[in-house]
Chain length 271, copies 2
């Protein structure tokens, strides 16, 4: 079975798509074709969206589903005239919240992922620059780091650092364990002062060899033997030094990031 | 007025926080203290969450609000015993969807931001590596690029590329316009074959000078005159070459990314 989903928003559509995706993963027998219609902030844009929905309805013969985060009720009404099944994301929560808080909500559109708080936004961008300049041992001055990821090459450190920086404004550096570090089985001296901010990433040897092979085909670096040795030594080092760590093989960067922040007690707001 | 919000999930908590944040921005007279409790996937974890909620309720005297994306109804019931105002994110949508689709949802937890589709996940990570290796003119081979951002130094190209890569699996390169390009007022030859994939970023001169000053204090690069000249020339070049562009000064990377993907007709699913 195939069905069509439209994510419609007066802003970026990120909220609509996030919740829509979460709900739809609970219906995995159905194949969903998804379309994003962002910045629907006028009657004209809403009418254009209705036309797209109606066209697809006619083409497929199946009623489309609209996940709607448009805040202006007049625009939502226009969207509903498409005949789609409307899933209004905010509607169920507004009344209970208004009652609980004793204030009326404000109809300000596109705020959730807009540039509302400039200082917070700047912190994200600065954290992203920090992650880029403190990636892969490029800069060993970790005084400002909120977290320093430690692991062998290609264990997932860089994307995880970028994710935590972009979405939590966390200054995340990463240090790649070298063969020398792994032979000594000692925490590199430059990391010792920051022990409380260290977090280790590991990965299955087969997966690591596969990733490295794609990057440097036929290299010693990509052999299973080399990957196994590095990972064994790294695991030993992290255990001995009592550094928290996790295996990234079956874990998304969102899950890794979430676990690291919990583990280190970093309770920053997500953007 | 201050109120406490708990984002509680059996996975990362990203969906809960995304929708909670969107709803709460509509109540901007209230100050919200937010706490994230991810990976609540057992009665034990749910009981621990209840204890935290009750403790805060007792301390503040104000009823906490729980934004809940835990899928197992038994765990949600435990959470509700905290006495908090429960906002169950999925509840309102499940029944209408089950009726529309004619199938029952499956109670599989933590899927929304977990590692479900390995090929999709790999595409995101590869796109992130692509953005890093094609950043700031580091590599001019744009054959595989889905989009190439063009603009003066510090106009917002790098964070936007990383965002599009991480969340849409889009291969985003960026090319910094040099003084030479800006003097010639010609599209650099290496970009000509990829004209349809170009997108320009601009920024207000005052803001650019401020950002550059933070990076290279007292440099010619950071003077308002230099920023104005570069931006004027870049705007002229982009207009003359008919390349779509936007001003990033008051625009978040989520908004910039969303507009670029719409403009270039890239309809990839968001992760």
């Amino acid at each position: 079975m195939r069905r069509t989903i439209f994510y419609i928003s007066d802003g970026t559509g990120i909220t609509a798509e996030t919740i829509g995706h979460s709900v739809l993963t609970q219906f995995d027998d159905v194949q969903f074709d998804t379309y994003r219609i962002p910045f629907v902030d006028s009657a004209e844009h809403a009418e254009a969206a209705v036309l797209r929905i109606k066209t697809l309805y006619a083409q497929t013969g199946a009623r489309p589903i609209v996940v709607n985060t448009v805040i202006d009720p007049a625009l939502s009404e226009i969207l509903a005239s498409s005949g789609a099944l409307m899933m209004d994301v905010f509607a169920p929560f507004i009344e209970p919240l208004e009652n609980e808080l004793g204030v009326k909500r404000k109809l300000s559109i596109g705020k959730a992922h807009g540039l509302v708080n400039f200082a917070e936004y700047e912190a994200r961008i600065n954290a992203t620059n920090y992650a880029l300049t403190h990636d892969d041992g490029a800069n060993f001055n970790y005084a400002d780091a909120d977290v320093i990821l430690v692991g062998v090459s290609r264990s997932g450190k860089t994307p995880t650092c970028l994710y935590m920086a972009l979405h939590f404004g966390v200054k995340a550096a990463n240090y790649p364990l070298t063969d020398e570090d792994l032979e000594k089985l000692e925490l590199p001296k430059r990391l010792v002062p920051y022990r409380a901010r260290l977090y280790g990433l590991s990965i299955d040897a087969n997966r690591l060899a596969q990733v490295r092979e794609a990057r440097k085909p036929n290299s010693r670096y990509a052999t299973l033997a080399q990957c196994r040795w590095e990972l064994d030594q790294a695991d030993r080092l992290l255990r001995r030094e009592n550094i928290p760590w996790l295996n990234t093989t079956h874990t998304s960067i969102e899950e890794i990031g979430s676990k690291i922040l919990s583990s280190l007690g970093i309770d920053k707001q997500m953007y």
